[in-house]
């Protein structure tokens, strides 16, 4: 098991390197000079050159990359151009909020998705199956930023039950587990949960349907095992695949929350990202994306290892 883990980690390193290169290049593909945002309009050529030297922009790209990575290794992701604060602090604060939102959505989505998918797989080709299939197709087809707006229209505008913006009363940034805060979480979390419900239901339906028709299930029935016990066997066989899909979905939730956070003004990484984009705050943009992508890479690693722990076949291949 440990050697498998080690191999996965080593295989991950080039990917992490590639991710850092892409994040580094993001700033390079941006039109205009990264300094225009902070440089006075009337700066002379000499002043500009001096400024470049300070930021290391006069050096060749590989050198710039090496400097950037060196700073990263010390936890220095540069300073936000808009606020002047260190990017690292801003990003980690926001990522915490995003994680809260993503985890809540996962808590809603996974049980519902598994339940619906299993129902559909077990009662294949019945009306119930078709209803679940319709729900999951609708779930993966809905633009969730629009769904968020629709939910706001219903529950905030028309019914007035739930707030439509922010993460706490009066734009509070400090989270706590009381109803005053949780009511802010409900709508964005539900909105975010819809797509994974569709995907998880679809996956579990296919898994359950396939497994239930397999010979070993017939054999279990044939030797007189009860329905419930047979289902336990099926669930164990489906667990590894279902887990990997859900693990990836958790990663997607974090990345996919960007639009939802914008809709609900949720102070997470997505909200930070869209602010960074509008203020052309490239260091902040770069830092946020790097952290999110590395988080996703780590998530993949955890999923792989957990999957191998559950299903011994994976380790050997």
């Amino acid at each position: 098991m440990f050697s498998y883990f080690l191999r996965r980690v080593i295989l991950m390193l080039p990917v992490a390197f590639g991710v850092s290169v892409i994040c580094f290049l993001l700033v390079q593909i941006a039109p205009g000079d990264p300094l225009t945002a902070i440089m006075p309009v009337d700066a002379t050529a000499d002043e500009q050159a001096a400024m470049r030297a300070i930021y290391g922009l006069d050096k060749p790209l590989p050198v710039q990359y090496a400097i950037w990575i060196g700073n990263l290794a010390q936890g220095d992701m540069g300073k936000s151009i808009a606020t002047g604060r260190p990017v690292a602090g801003e990003v980690f604060g926001a990522v915490q909020n995003s994680l809260l939102l993503a985890a809540s959505a996962a808590v809603i989505a996974f049980p519902i998705g598994i339940f619906l998918g299993f129902l559909a797989g077990y009662f294949r080709d019945t009306l119930l199956d078709r209803a679940v299939t319709a729900i999951s197709i609708a779930g993966v087809s809905v633009p969730n930023y629009w769904l968020g707006i629709v939910l706001v229209i219903i529950f905030s505008v028309n019914l007035g039950w739930l707030p439509s913006m922010g993460a706490g009363p009066g734009g509070s940034q400090d989270w706590s587990w009381d109803w005053l805060h949780i009511r802010h979480l409900v709508l964005p979390a539900v909105t975010l949960a819809v797509v994974p419900i569709g995907i998880v239901a679809r996956t579990v339906r296919a898994l359950a349907g396939d497994l239930l028709t397999q010979d070993f299930v017939l054999a279990l029935y044939a030797k007189g095992m009860s329905r419930g016990d047979v289902l336990r066997h099926v669930a164990r066989n489906a667990a590894a695949t279902a887990l990997s899909v859900m693990g990836l979905q958790l990663g997607y939730l974090l990345g996919g929350s960007i639009l939802i956070e914008t809709v609900f003004n949720w102070p997470g990484s997505g909200f930070l990202l869209s602010n960074a984009i509008f203020q052309r705050d490239l260091p902040l943009l770069q830092g946020t994306i790097l952290v999110l992508a590395l988080f996703f890479v780590g998530m993949n690693l955890i999923v792989d290892v957990a999957q191998a722990a559950i299903d011994p076949r994976i380790k050997r291949s």
Binding site: W146, G251, G255, L259, T262
Partner: protein, 295 residues
Amino acid sequence: MAAVDTDILEEPVTESGKGYWSGVGARLMRDPVTLICMAVILLLILSAIFAPYLGLADPYKGSMIARLKPIGTPGHILGTDEQGRDMLVRLIYGGRLTLFIGLTPVVLAFFIGGTLGIVAGYAGGWVNTVIMRTVDVFFAFPSVLLAIAISGALGAGIVNSLVSLTIVFIPPITRVSEAVTSGVRALDYIDAARASGANALTVIRVHVIGNVLSPIFVYATSLTSVCMILAAGLSFLGIGVRPPEPEWGLMLNTLRSAIYVNPWLSALPGMMIFVTSLCLNLLSDGVRSAMNVRD
């Protein structure tokens, strides 16, 4: 001397003469949901193409006194937007850009990713390693994040949206194309073709492409819905199409301010995105099962 063999008199396994595609067509004709979705998509595409010739009002011309009229207003059947422009006209025109930016990247990624995958899958070795490891790196980004990152860095604009979405969809298509091609590459008919002295290009052209294209194509169609949602999402965030162009995601964004004044009106553009994406998904599922491609 021609031996009479019972084997030769044996009846063929399936009816002969009928091509593969006529079977696909027949199966599609028996599937009403797919046909309806096909009709909706076709209607949207046609109205997008012919919008200027339908005698509609000017989609850019607003009116200060006729702002945010509700749905059902005489003369403005679907109401007016925050600048008093007719919603129905804007929605019809909006389909042009949304569909264009939503579908073009998948088409481009189909050609680029398909080619990369076929090359990687057929060549194997270090060529495969270079292409597929690069693809792995892009897989480390959730698609939404990658699209927003590239678009965010490049800035708003139609071309930039197309570029970033194409980059987002090349890796998944490359991966599928590589997997399918490696599978075909291992079959004996490829070896037989190579053994007849054909060079790699000829083998790919005659024996590989025909057998890998339809699974890659089916996979690509399954991406159109996601791509359209993402494309509109970029405009919704303000890093896609620039105002005053009519585009569903952008309209959804600008109408958000009207959510307390005329809530359902402001949800209309999103409704269009939803319906289109739903039809694209159902259509892709229908085509997939008609073509007997397994998941």
